[in-house]
């Protein structure tokens, strides 16, 4: 029973925190992209 509680806690918290962290990272990436957009010369260089 203790192991089940441990497993469920790990699953709920582990998946939850992993999802939330990666979601936060997506927001940070979008913010960085807005703050530092691709310049025309960079696009040409590529």
């Amino acid at each position: 029973m203790k192991d089940l509680a441990f497993g469920l806690t790990m699953t709920v918290m582990g998946m939850g925190v992993t999802f939330i962290t990666l979601f936060l990272l997506t927001l940070i990436i979008r913010l960085l992209d807005r703050l530092f957009p691709l310049k025309a010369e960079e696009e040409k260089k590529d």
Partner: protein, 382 residues
């Protein structure tokens, strides 16, 4: 005559001490060498592991990872028991990865989270089969489909299972092209698999590429400090790559450093696989649970992909979700191939690579969160 017999006796000691477990392990070592050389299954790893198994199981050679004072024991103690080798590998990994496709389409990062679902369900399964908590967590991390992470966790919490877990993690990484397609096809219709995604390779500025490893490293380590060695080194390697000012260090990290560590890591893992501790029912269970974990990762990724396809009005191909595991770039290639089978006009590689790199961050994050929770519960020291 007596001297001659003593000398002869000394020369046959190796044969005399060979056990049936040792013979099986020698055969296993030779099989891995065959798979690595003839079938090209992860040869970079299977060759040193296979040879390590052979050296480690030759009686009286003193070359097993557990032979105190032996040369491989020195490497094992310095590199595996201290977790140094997997951590060093992450510098090289970071230096090799281009996060560009993920940064251009950050929503695919969520697939990297879904791709870790199998880890947690497998943890429940392992606990229900009676594995102690530390072992169950270590086995579940095979589902990260990420060899170094699996080794890092197992070397901390389940050293007795380290050989089985390492072999399972690396074997399944190379078997992704066989494991994933049937699950993808079972969960999707042909029209879903053939969903076209936007083609243009959107780009991000170099500043974003340089800042991402710094910001992501800080955030993820603040959330789960126990994963700092892995995440920190991954982001360090990537920052060096994107900064563009230390090409020499990047070259060393992705080349010589990674190669040397891979050689020593493989050799040590192989030499730690002794007949007595490897030929057990537990090993078979570890392999089965690892397979289940990777299967469940794929299921969760594809199901999230289906959900996102609905939410975006058909703009996302659900197969991309299957690439949210850490097996890079095999999983992305599998997605591309399956998409094109359903619709030859369908090009998913760019998006799948993004999800795949997201899976690498997700796998380290999931392992770090597990370690942090365990430390919080007092199961392992902080």
């Amino acid at each position: 005559m007596e001297v001659f017999l003593s000398a002869l006796n000394a020369l046959v000691q190796g044969f005399a001490n060979l056990t049936w477990e040792g013979v099986i392990m020698l055969a296993l070592g030779i099989l891995l060498l065959y798979l690595g050389v003839s079938r090209q299954f992860e040869p970079l790893l299977l060759l040193p592991i296979g040879f390590g198994i052979i050296l480690g199981n030759l009686p009286l050679a003193g070359l097993s990872a557990h032979d105190e004072g032996g040369v491989i024991n020195l490497l094992y103690s310095a590199g595996i028991l201290t977790e140094l080798f997997p951590v060093l590998l992450f510098i090289g990994l970071g230096a090799m990865i281009d996060f560009g496709p993920m940064l251009a389409n950050p929503i695919v990062l969520l697939f990297g989270a879904a791709g870790q679902f199998g880890i947690f369900l497998t943890l429940l399964l392992a606990l229900s089969l009676g594995f102690p908590r530390e072992q169950a967590v270590s086995i579940a991390v095979i589902g990260a489909c990420d060899g170094p992470t699996a080794i890092y966790v197992a070397s901390r919490f389940a050293r007795e299972l380290l050989p089985a877990i390492s072999i399972a993690a690396y074997s399944y990484m190379s078997l992704v092209p066989i494991i994933q397609p049937p699950i993808m096809r079972a969960l999707t219709s042909k029209s879903e698999r053939g969903t076209m995604m936007e083609l243009g390779e959107k780009k991000v500025s170099q500043k974003v590429k340089v800042l991402f490893p710094v910001v992501a490293g800080i955030l993820t380590i603040l959330i789960a400090p126990m994963g700092a060695p892995l995440m920190g080194m991954l982001m360090l390697g990537n920052f060096m790559r994107e900064s563009g000012v230390i090409k020499r260090l990047v070259d060393v990290s992705e080349g010589a450093l990674t190669n040397i560590v891979t050689l020593f890591l493989g050799l040590c893992i192989g030499a730690s696989m002794l007949g007595g501790n490897f030929l057990q029912w537990q090993t078979i269970l570890v392999f089965i649970l690892g397979l289940v974990a990777i299967g469940l990762d794929t299921v969760a990724g594809v199901l999230l992909g289906k959900l996102m396809r609905v939410l975006t009005g058909g703009k996302i191909n659900p197969l991309v979700g299957a690439a949210g595991i850490s097996a890079f770039p095999m999983s992305a290639r599998v997605v591309q191939r399956e998409g094109q089978k359903a619709n030859p006009q369908c090009f998913l590689l760019w998006h799948a690579i993004g999800a795949n790199t997201g899976g690498q961050i997700g796998s380290v994050m999931a392992a770090a969160v597990m370690l942090a929770i365990m430390a919080g519960m007092g199961i392992v020291p902080r």
